[in-house]
């Protein structure tokens, strides 16, 4: 985690703040747009989705978990677009059925796979990768989650103070 950022070979700490800054910019932009058009009832969900999306785009396509999030968002926007265009609800159910694959109960045949499966469920995009890759993705995901929490906390504190 302390390895130098590829664009900053000598500075190690700034890698975390780079992510923080990028996430902050995107998130604030998203919040600006959200505040104009979302009703208060859906605001929580949209803000959470905006946080995830801005974090994923801040990370970029380098990481599998960010790619998974971006893929999910694009699929969702595409689906919404199709729904809005054609009101085709069969499309919704078809997509939902594919999502059930993850939700099926798995037989815990092997020792220790329960935790691994739990981890795969937590980290986005964790389904189709090996265990070692899963661990590295988890490490990066944790780092980005921490940055996200810090930025959101700072924003909250700022707006609560002013």
């Amino acid at each position: 985690m302390k390895t130098p950022h590829p664009k900053n070979p000598t500075c190690t700490n700034p890698s975390r703040s780079i992510i923080r800054t990028r996430f902050a910019v995107r998130f604030l932009n998203a919040m600006k747009k959200l505040n104009k058009k979302t009703p208060p009832s859906r605001r929580y969900h949209t803000i959470r989705a905006a946080a995830c999306a801005s974090m994923a785009s801040a990370v970029g396509p380098r990481r599998a978990w960010s790619r998974a999030i971006l893929r999910k968002i694009r699929a969702r926007t595409l689906r919404d677009y199709i729904i809005n265009k054609s009101r085709n609800h069969r499309l919704i159910t078809r997509r939902k059925s594919t999502g059930l694959l993850r939700g099926n109960p798995r037989d815990q045949e092997e020792v220790g796979f329960r935790q691994e499966d739990d981890l795969r469920g937590l980290v986005p995009g964790g389904e189709g990768m090996g265990f070692c890759r899963l661990l590295s993705e988890t490490a990066h995901y944790i780092k980005c989650l921490r940055a996200q929490v810090q930025v959101m906390t700072n924003i909250l504190d700022h707006y609560n103070s002013t």
């Binding site: 985690m1 664009k7 900053n8 000598t10 500075c11 700034p14 703040s17 780079i18 800054t21 990028r22 902050a24 910019v25 604030l28 932009n29 919040m31 600006k32 505040n35 208060p40 605001r43 929580y44 803000i47 959470r48 946080a51 970029g60 109960p105 037989d107 815990q108 045949e109 020792v111 220790g112 796979f113 329960r114 935790q115 691994e116 739990d118 981890l119 469920g121 937590l122 980290v123 265990f131 070692c132 661990l135 590295s136 988890t138 490490a139 944790i142 780092k143 989650l145 921490r146 996200q148 929490v149 810090q150 959101m152 906390t153 700072n154 924003i155 909250l156 700022h158 707006y159 609560n160």
Partner: protein, 445 residues
């Protein structure tokens, strides 16, 4: 695997129907609440355990009122299976099919679908329950973690379970594995025995069981004898099923030691240190799946999982707060100016970027004359106003006037910055820390 024993051991129920006729009064209290609790695998754990505790206490207290053991070892085996099935049902463990899901169907012990439903219960809900329940099941009550107070408080239950297991294994010599058969028998018998629980008191009063009077006092000792050996075997099997063995209690304790920061938006230092530890250890433990048997890895995985969950909950909590607090606040870039105070450790970049945006590019021309020293000093000043911020030179001195012009040209476009531009700005800012950075190439990105 072991689960298959539960599912596919097609054992005919020769004598379950007898139980229904000989149900003594104490068993009514036993049978009804556990049924309700077991029927709902998603009910709260406390509900499970309170019912279970009442069931256990009634079972313990009932030997005096029990009829004498008339039948042989086979009946004891049935009762034993019922007991262990109840334990499995109370814990909602996937390894043990809960017995009471088919109590409504009284005479269908082979309803395999009922055994499968508990496997569908969410794994994450009771992970540590599985870990704690399984070792407790066969052993004589080691100090149980909080979710299982009832089980640990019952003094003689585990001993009886051990004895029942040994009798059950004796009665089925032809089977492949004694405990697999035991558990299978339990799975099949449990529903019927729940209806008629008279066998248990009979078993407890059987003369063979009275030999175990001494183990009642000494629960955790490894006393010699077939009973204890079988208990240990059962414990090992259960620990293998749960996946972490003797460290299961440790795992749960470690998991609970992690401070639950999800209720507050603050990230604690302990969590950050744990996270670093977890991440470093996770990276180092890049072994194959067979290393899951190493208890350290399971511990680490649990810690990682809990940390990720807590972080996600924190993000949700913060987004909720943001949604409620900011219905109409202005999120434009002016807010970022004051937000600069939020990143004192990264003081360089955010502080310098945004005032450069708001300030006129004319101010920029003064900057190349500033000192890097000044820059370092003002990075510590978190409350610097826009002017003082602008007075600090974010760029390397004197070297990059041409590139600085390029930078100033890009400044008015700040709201429309692409990611690459942002990168360039970021790296220009960070170039200053080690002054001898060749930043020309980066600036021109």
């Amino acid at each position: 695997m072991d689960k298959d024993f539960f599912m596919n051991a097609g054992i005919p129920p020769p004598q379950p129907l007898q139980f229904e006729t000989t149900m003594p009064v104490p068993w009514t209290g036993l049978s009804c609440p556990p049924e309700q609790s077991f029927l709902d695998p998603h009910s709260s754990m406390d509900h499970h355990y309170s019912n279970f505790e009442s069931a256990l206490s009634s079972m313990v207290s009932s030997p005096a009122a029990a009829a004498a053991a008339t039948s042989g070892l086979s009946n004891e085996a049935f009762v034993l299976r019922e007991l262990i099935g109840k334990l499995g049902g109370a814990g909602s463990s996937p390894a043990f099919p809960p017995p009471a899901t088919t109590t409504t169907t009284t005479t269908s012990p082979f309803n395999d679908s009922s055994y499968r439903t508990p496997l569908g219960s969410p794994k994450l809900q009771l992970p540590f329950l599985d870990q704690m329940n399984m070792p407790n099941l066969g052993t004589s009550l080691p100090p149980a973690p909080p979710p299982l107070p009832a089980l640990s408080s019952d003094p003689g239950f585990a001993e009886r379970a051990a004895k029942f297991s040994c009798f059950g294994s004796r009665s089925f010599n032809g089977r492949t594995s004694p405990f697999g058969v035991n558990n299978a028998e339990l799975g099949h018998r449990s529903n019927t025995t729940l209806m008629g629980n008279g066998k248990l008191p009979r078993v407890s009063s059987s003369p063979a069981l009275k030999q175990g009077g001494s183990p009642l006092e000494n629960k955790n000792s490894g006393q010699p004898g077939m009973e204890i050996k079988l208990v240990n075997g059962l414990e090992k099997k259960l620990s293998k099923l749960s996946g972490s063995g003797a460290s299961s209690n440790e795992e749960s304790s470690v998991s609970e030691q992690i401070p639950s920061g999800e209720n507050g938006p603050k990230t604690s230092n302990e969590m950050s240190s744990r996270k670093r530890k977890a991440v470093s250890r996770a990276k180092s433990k890049e072994n194959g799946p067979n290393s899951a048997k190493v208890t350290g890895k399971a511990l680490m995985l649990d810690e990682i999982i809990n940390y990720v969950q807590s972080l996600q909950r924190q993000v949700e909590f913060l987004s909720m707060k943001l949604a409620s607090v900011n219905p109409g606040l202005d999120f434009n870039m002016d807010n970022l100016l004051s937000k600069d105070q939020m990143f004192p450790q990264n003081a360089a970049l955010p502080q310098q970027m945004y005032p450069l945006d708001s300030s006129a590019p004319t101010l920029y021309h003064h900057q190349p004359q500033q000192n890097v020293q000044q820059f370092h000093d003002t990075t510590n000043a978190s409350t610097a106003g826009p002017l003082s911020q602008c007075s600090v030179d974010p760029l390397p001195l004197g070297v990059q006037l041409p590139s600085a012009d390029g930078f100033s040209e890009s400044l008015p476009q700040f709201p429309a910055f692409s990611e690459d531009d942002l990168h360039s700005i970021v790296h220009m800012g960070f170039v200053n820390f080690p002054v001898n950075q060749p930043s020309d190439t980066r600036v021109e990105r």
